[in-house]
């Protein structure tokens, strides 16, 4: 460029003034931020979760219920098949405290059987002459904890006679023990089922959202097809297809598979929506610009981004599974005797005659209610706590 051409604009005047380091927040803010970073994402989620009273209530319920799942043999006074033939359909024994010469030890009265209505009705009345003292950590029926550790101590029980705080069923079995053992099936079938549907739903939902187009279309229409079947007849059809000679464990897994195969659609839908939103994020484009493969983007960016959502959806769909199992077993198509689940127990309370005469047989509905509420509370609180953008 010659000097004769007077520059119209000098590049130097256009370039910006350099400013001293005023980059970013103050030191204190940085320290606070660093403090939070050390805590980590899940610790932060937990901290926010703890603030939710309902969430903590739900968590407490679930801890108690899963405690029953883990220590069923110890918590239940009897095995779920132990029957007391003298006590068929006997009502719950009332718990007494103090008196009967037992000091402060709680006790129940033994029941004596009588007949009413010309011998057509069995009636039980407490025999105040025979108090049964309840002992804690009492040696009772031998069992193997988790099928491994031989033991015979139960949380409570009595060497003097049968104790059934929730009454007896039609074969004279302790309803409380059966409810505790039933938790094993009912509470785990939800978890196992949800894990299966998450695997199905997460893979198909993510693929559907990420690739879009024809793949998305096919998967979505298939989900609609599944959702448009009336669920109970479909369950029944599938459950009826389980071979009758299958062992109870196989039936258990069969039911789980049925529930999750029919239940993944909603989860896949929700994940697809989330993935659709994530796919448009700049960091996905940035990853692509850095040469990341589709699989890398799905596995490292989309799925982890959805983890909190997956967790919430999973928590909220466990109750559906539990209710599904209960419904199936209630209809006599689910878990079969001698295994027991809450649905199996409720099946016995199907008839109005049973309900009017032995109302305590409906009590297994209470843990179902608690479990469903617990999972819903926890899921709601988790949703509020786990949103990575919520802060």
């Amino acid at each position: 460029m010659s000097a004769a051409q007077a520059p119209r604009l000098d590049p130097a005047t256009l370039s910006r003034a350099r400013v001293a380091q005023t980059d970013g927040p103050s030191d204190e803010e940085r320290l606070l931020a660093a403090e939070e970073a050390r805590i980590g994402q899940w610790r932060q989620v937990w901290r926010r979760f703890r603030r939710s009273r309902l969430g903590m209530t739900g968590l407490a319920i679930l801890v108690v219920l899963y405690g029953a799942v883990v220590f069923a043999e110890f918590l239940a006074p009897y095995h779920y098949t132990t029957s007391f033939t003298e006590y068929v359909h006997a009502p719950p024994q009332r718990l007494h405290l103090g008196g009967a010469g037992l000091g402060l030890r709680p006790y129940v009265y033994d029941l004596t059987r009588g007949y009413a209505a010309q011998g057509l009705l069995r009636v039980y009345s407490p025999d105040t002459a025979k108090p049964i003292a309840i002992h804690f950590l009492v040696p009772g029926e031998p069992y193997r904890l988790w099928g491994l550790i031989p033991a015979r101590r139960h949380l409570f029980g009595s060497p003097d006679g049968p104790v059934a705080l929730l009454g007896f069923d039609r074969m004279g079995r302790d309803l409380l023990s059966r409810t505790i053992y039933g938790a094993r099936i009912s509470m785990t079938i939800g978890l196992v089922g949800v894990v299966l549907s998450i695997v199905l739903g997460a893979v198909l939902g993510t693929v559907s959202g990420y690739y879009g187009g024809t793949i998305d279309h096919l998967i979505q229409r298939f989900i609609e097809l599944l959702a448009s079947f009336p669920s109970i007849p479909l369950w029944m059809a599938l459950a009826a297809a389980l071979p009758p000679e299958w062992s109870s464990v196989k039936v258990y897994f069969g039911i789980t598979v049925i529930l999750s195969v029919l239940g993944w659609g909603g989860l896949a839908r929700q994940l697809r929506g989330i993935v659709l939103a994530y796919r448009e994020q700049d960091f996905v484009m940035a990853a692509r610009c850095a040469g990341a493969s589709d699989w890398h983007i799905i596995s490292r960016h989309l799925v982890p981004g959805c983890t909190s959502h997956i967790l919430v959806i999973a928590t909220l769909s466990v109750p559906g599974m539990i209710l599904g199992e209960t419904a199936l077993s209630f209809l006599g198509l689910g878990i079969r005797a001698p295994m027991t689940s809450w649905g199996v127990l409720l099946e016995e309370a199907q008839h109005i005659r049973v309900l009017t005469q032995y109302p305590w047989l409906v009590l297994p509905a209470v843990p179902v209610l608690l479990a469903v509420l617990g999972f819903n509370f926890v899921g709601d609180a988790l949703r509020d706590a786990a949103d990575p953008h919520g802060r």
Binding site: R8, G24, F283, A286, G291
Partner: protein, 317 residues
């Protein structure tokens, strides 16, 4: 490097001829929507569907010993282009806020970029991430590597993005409006950082911006884009002191300059950008051009007006 692209039914970019030499910084300037970003993205083969490269060539020669490849001819989902993205050609985006994944720490994300292209252990990648953070001038890189994006300021995040872009030692860095989203006080620092990195590594730099101040500061050569075509390109001083294309002249008149007399008013470019669906058949700038002639209904091509200074205008054809 050399490209010549046409894309889509709406010809967002049509006839961009541009070359960036090793160790050279080229500024690509133009109004919003003139196709600057699309030009940058098509180099990486990352046009969003339904956008596609209809024709043309994008020639790229990576490391000195490797062969020249036509990026426009590669399968945009293939392994070959993936090996180039990030490793040989890296890009820095406008938005440092959203270009980092909020659920990973900054260090993890940079390490991840290294792991995609290099066969190194996770620990080595992590060490390299910390080293990169230090090189882009972040204080206490060890701590920052463990922080999440939301804990950093915009400037720090953009530094982290630059660290990630530089982590695989690319030969071409595309900076797409790298400072637009930042505080004015931070902009100069980031530009400085990019300029230093470019000089140190003898990288080619394609700086996409609408800010004439930025290119004046950074680029040795400038290409001016209007409505999907390059209308003028040449050395920085030539463009600023003796712009040949009426559009470039109008653009420079619209920029405030310190020291110019207050009475002189800024003159915006007359008229508006035409609808991309109805691009004029001839020179795209003709409807807004103060010096429109009969011949302007025929599209001019880039011609060398002075040595190294090309312009697509009949005034100089």
């Amino acid at each position: 490097m050399f490209f010549h692209i046409e894309a889509g039914t709406v010809r967002a970019v049509d006839g961009v001829t541009l070359s960036v030499q090793r160790g050279q910084a080229v500024g690509l300037v133009g109004e919003s929507g003139c196709g600057k970003t699309i030009t940058g993205m098509s180099v990486l083969g990352l046009l969003q569907p339904p956008g596609r490269i209809e024709g043309g060539r994008i020639l790229f020669r990576g490391r000195t010993d490797s062969q020249t490849v036509d990026l426009a001819g590669l399968d945009p989902r293939g392994d070959q282009i993936r090996a180039i993205r990030g490793a040989e050609i890296a890009i820095v985006f406008q938005e440092p806020m959203t270009s980092l994944n909020p659920v990973y720490t900054v260090g993890d994300q940079i390490a991840e970029a290294v792991l995609v292209h290099r066969r190194v252990t996770r620990r080595d990648a992590r060490d390299q991430a910390v080293e990169m953070l230090q090189r882009v001038g972040l204080p206490q890189p060890h701590r920052i590597a463990g922080e999440y994006p939301h804990q950093l300021s915009g400037g720090m995040r953009q530094r982290a993005m630059i660290a990630m872009a530089l982590s695989c030692d690319p030969c071409l860095l595309i900076a797409d409006e790298p400072t637009t989203a930042l505080d004015v006080t931070v902009q100069a620092q980031i530009l400085d950082l990019i300029a230093r990195a470019q000089a140190e590594r003898h990288m080619a730099l394609l700086l996409i911006t609408h800010d004439l101040g930025v290119v004046a500061h950074m680029a040795a050569a400038i290409a001016v884009m209007y409505l999907g075509t390059v209308v003028e390109c040449g050395p920085r001083n030539a463009i600023f002191s003796s712009p040949l294309h009426p559009y470039t002249q109008a653009l420079l008149r619209s920029v405030p300059v310190l020291g110019r007399r207050a009475k002189e008013r800024l003159s915006p470019v007359r008229g508006t950008v035409p609808d991309p669906l109805a691009v004029p058949a001839g020179c795209p700038f003709a409807p807004r051009c103060p010096e429109q002639m009969e011949v302007c209904c025929v599209r001019p091509s880039l011609q060398e007006a002075e040595p190294g200074h090309q312009v697509a205008c009949w005034l100089h054809g």
